[in-house]
Amino acid sequence: MGQGRRGRRWRRGRARGVIAGACFLCLLGLGSPPGGLGLGRALGGEAAPLLIGLLLPPEEPQGLSVRQGVMLAVETANQAPGPRARLVVRGRPGQWGADADEAARMATEDGAQALIAPVDGAASHLALQVAGRTAVPVLTLCPDSLVTGTGVPWMARIAPGADLEAQTLFAQVGRPADRHVPHWAVVLPAGRAGREAAHDVLAAARQMQAEVVKTLDVGTNGVAPPSSVAEVLAARPDAILVWLDPAPAARWVLALRGAGFAGRLAGPGRLAGPEFCVATGAAGEGFTVPAIVYDAGSQASSRRFTAAYRARFGQEPEVVAAQAYDAASLLITLLRESGAHPLHRLFPLVWTGPGASGPLRFDRQGNRVVTLTLRVCHHGSFQAAPASSAL
C-alpha cells in the first residue's frame, strides 16, 4: 500500500535540515548539554515556555522511572539558552478510558504542544486518538507494534518494537545440541496487554521459525502459583520467554528457577535494569534480553545521562527512564526548532542522533530503527552476551 502521506519531500527536507543543523552545532561545540541532544544552546532569546504533556496512569508499572527520566530531560534542557521547557503530568485512576480525558485535557486546557505516552498500550492508543483530531504529536514508550501501525502521521515510538525484540531473541539465542529448533514457552500478561504482546511475540516466532510449545497468560499482579509454573514446565521448553514487567517477571523467574528449570530465561529489553536485577538476585543469573547497540555518540550520551540521573535521584536508571529522557529531549529540541510553526509539520521524523537509550533514528511509520544484540544478567547487572549463547 502506498504510504506516501508520510513521505512528503518537504517534510523530509525540513527534518533533515534540523538534523544537519544539529550536527553542525555539535561539531562547533555549541550544543550537547550534558546528556542532551544539543540543539538548544544556539537558539537564544526569550520565548513562551514549551509545554510537554506526560500521560502517566497511576498503574503504570515503571511510572516513577518514566517521570524521573522526563523531569531530568526538562531540567537539562532548561540549563541551556532558548525557550524554557515545562512539563505537565496527568494520569488518574478511573474506569477504562480515563486516560483519554487526561490526554485531551493536556492537549486542550494545559496547552501541551506534544505528548509523551506511556509503556501501556491502551493509554498510548488513547493519546493517539486525541492526536488524530488535534494534531498534537505523540512520542510513545509503548513497544507494541500496532501502536505505530495506527497511521497517525505525527507520532513516533522511542521503545524498540516488541516484534523486533522477540525476533532478536528467537534468532540469537542458540539451539540445544540435540534439536534443530528450540522449544520456547512464553509467559504473557493477561488481558489486552497480553493480547498485544502475544501478537508481536508469536509473529516473531513464526518469522524466525522458532517453535512456541506453550503460552500462558498470567494475572497482572504477576503471582506465579505452583500450578501455573508446573503447567509451563510440563511443556518441556528449552527456553522460557518471560514477557512481563519487571516486578512480575522477577517473581516468575524466582518461581521457575525454584521449580528446577535450568534452561534459558529471557524477556523484553526493559527488564535490563536495577529493579529486575535486585528482585531476582542469583536467580536472575543468565537472564537474557535484547539491547540496542550503541554508537560512540550514544555511549557518551548514555554516560552523561546515567551520571546526571544518579546525581539527581540517587539511583541507577531503568531502561524506560533513558527512553523517557530521550523522548522529552527530542520533543524539546523539535519544539525549539519548529518555532512558530506547528510541531506536527516536522513529522514523520527522519531523525538521526545520539540518545541516552541508544541512537535515535525512525522510519516513516514512526518505528525506532535500531540494531539489537543480546545482554545477559551476570552478578546483578546486564552485560554483553558471551560469543556462544547456546542453550
Binding site: M1, G2, Q3, G4, R5, W10, Q95, W96, G97, A98, A100, D101, A104, R105, T108, E109, H125, L126, Q129, V130, G132, R133, T134, A135, L146, G149, T150, G151, V152, P153, R345, Q365
Partner: protein, 384 residues
C-alpha cells in the same frame, strides 16, 4: 478565460506544466469550474471563502460544522461552539454559558425537535431553547467524557466515546453502554456514529465498523480482511483498515474513513482506495460525509470528492496554494491552480447541501461555492 487548463499524462510533463503554472500565478476563478467540467457527474466548486477570527471565530481550529434544517450554521471549534448570525459574524458559546468543555469535536441535529447535540472533549451536551444540558461520565450513563462522534437515531442519541458507545433514550432518559463486554467490539474506542434506516454504524478505532440492528439488538462486525493495520493486502475485499476515523451512510452507501485510505460498501460490494493507487489525496482521512451518492472526504492535504468513479481533488500545498484536480476514467488528469482555496489542507469536518459546502479546517472555516450547475439530481438518480 484566464485559467490555464493543464493536461498531462507523464510525470515529466506534469512537473514541466506545474512549473509553468507556478510562474503564471493565480487567476480569478469565475467560470473555471465550467471550463474544467468534462462530464463529471457532480457539481464542482468554483471558489472558496474563508472565515476566521475577524468573523468572530474564537480559535484557529474548527473541528466540526453543521447546518440545521432551518439553515443555521453551527461550528465546533477548539475554543467553543459558534453559530453564524444574520450579519455573518459568529457568536460563541463556551463553558461560561454551560458548555461542558471548550473543545467541540462533533455536532448533530435532532431533526424532530431542532435540538443540537454537541460532543466535546469532556462530555456530551444538548442545546435546546437556548440552554445547555450536559452529560458526563460521572453524572450520566455516558461511557467516557471524550465524545468523538454523535448522531440522533429516532428517539435515541448515540455517542461514540473513547470507552464505548453510549445510547441515550430521549423518551425514558435511560442509557445503554456498548463496548467490548457486550458487543463484538474488538476495542472499546469509538470514533464515529452514523445511521441508516435499519442500522446504527459505529466506527471503531482498531475495530473496523460495527453494525447494530436496534430492533433485534444484534451486532455485525466489518473488519479489515487482511488483519493488518498498515498494509492493504486485499483490495475491495472489506474495510481498507481497522482504524476507523469516520463513517457515514447515505442513500444505501456506507463510507468509511481511515488513516490508511477510504472504503465504500453498498451492501453487496466493498471498494477501497489508497493514496498512490487511486486519486485519493492522502491516506490520512479524518472525515467523510456524502451528498446523495457523492462522498466528500477530508484529508490532511485537502478534500477529495468522488462518486466512486470520478474524482475531484481540492488540494492545498504547504505554502497555502490551492489546486483542483479532476480524474475521470480513460481521460487525462486535469489540474488547475485556484485563485481561492481552503483555509487549510487539514480538513476535520464537512457539511454539504445543494447550495454550498462548508469545511472545518485546522486553520479556520471555509465556504465552498458551487459552479452554477445542477448535477446533484443526476447523481441521486444513479444506481449505486
Amino acid at each position: 478565460m484566464q485559467w490555464s487548463v493543464i493536461q498531462w499524462r507523464s510525470r515529466s510533463a506534469r512537473w514541466l506544466t506545474l512549473g509553468c503554472l507556478l510562474i503564471a500565478g493565480p487567476v480569478p476563478g469565475a467560470g473555471a469550474a465550467r471550463e474544467l467540467d468534462q462530464g463529471v457527474p457532480f457539481p464542482l466548486l468554483e471558489g472558496f471563502e474563508n472565515f476566521g477570527e475577524k468573523d468572530g471565530i474564537p480559535g484557529h481550529k474548527v473541528h466540526s460544522v453543521l447546518k440545521t434544517r432551518e439553515g443555521q450554521l453551527w461550528i465546533g471549534t477548539f475554543d467553543g461552539l459558534c453559530v453564524r448570525q444574520a450579519d455573518g459574524k459568529f457568536r460563541r458559546y463556551g463553558p461560561e454559558e454551560g458548555l461542558s468543555h471548550k473543545l467541540v469535536l462533533c455536532l448533530a441535529e435532532d431533526t424532530n425537535t431542532g435540538d443540537l447535540w454537541i460532543g466535546t472533549a469532556r462530555g456530551l451536551n444538548r442545546f435546546s431553547g437556548g440552554k445547555f444540558t450536559t452529560y458526563t461520565q460521572t453524572d450520566s450513563g455516558l461511557p467516557n467524557n471524550v465524545v468523538y462522534g454523535v448522531d440522533v437515531v429516532g428517539e435515541t442519541v448515540w455517542a461514540a466515546t473513547a470507552a464505548g458507545a453510549g445510547a441515550l433514550n430521549l423518551r425514558t432518559g435511560a442509557w445503554k453502554i456498548y463496548d467490548q463486554n457486550n458487543t463484538l467490539m474488538h476495542e472499546p474506542w469509538c470514533y464515529a456514529i452514523t445511521k441508516s434506516p435499519e442500522f446504527v454504524y459505529i466506527g471503531v478505532w482498531g475495530g473496523g465498523i460495527l453494525e447494530h440492528n436496534p430492533k433485534t439488538g444484534s451486532f455485525k462486525e466489518y473488519r479489515d480482511p487482511d488483519g493488518d493495520f498498515q498494509f492493504v493486502l486485499a483490495a475491495d475485499a472489506g474495510p481498507v483498515g481497522d482504524i476507523t476515523s469516520w463513517v457515514y451512510w447515505e442513500e444505501g452507501v456506507l463510507w468509511q474513513a481511515t488513516y490508511f485510505g477510504m472504503s465504500r460498501y453498498d451492501g453487496a460490494r466493498w471498494r477501497t482506495w489508497v493514496e498512490g493507487k487511486s486519486p485519493l489525496l492522502s491516506n490520512f482521512v479524518n472525515f467523510v460525509t456524502a451528498h446523495h451518492r457523492v462522498a466528500w472526504i477530508g484529508t490532511d492535504r485537502g478534500v477529495s470528492v468522488t462518486d466512486a468513479t470520478n474524482w475531484v481533488n481540492y488540494a492545498v500545498s504547504e505554502k497555502g496554494e490551492g489546486t483542483v484536480e479532476i480524474h475521470q476514467p480513460h481521460q487525462p488528469v486535469v489540474r488547475q491552480r485556484l485563485a481561492t482555496t481552503l483555509a487549510n489542507g487539514f480538513v476535520l469536518g464537512i457539511w454539504v447541501d445543494d447550495q454550498e459546502v462548508w469545511f472545518a479546517t485546522s486553520n479556520g472555516l471555509t465556504r465552498g461555492r458551487y459552479a452554477p450547475q445542477d448535477k446533484a439530481a443526476r447523481v441521486a438518480e444513479a444506481q449505486p
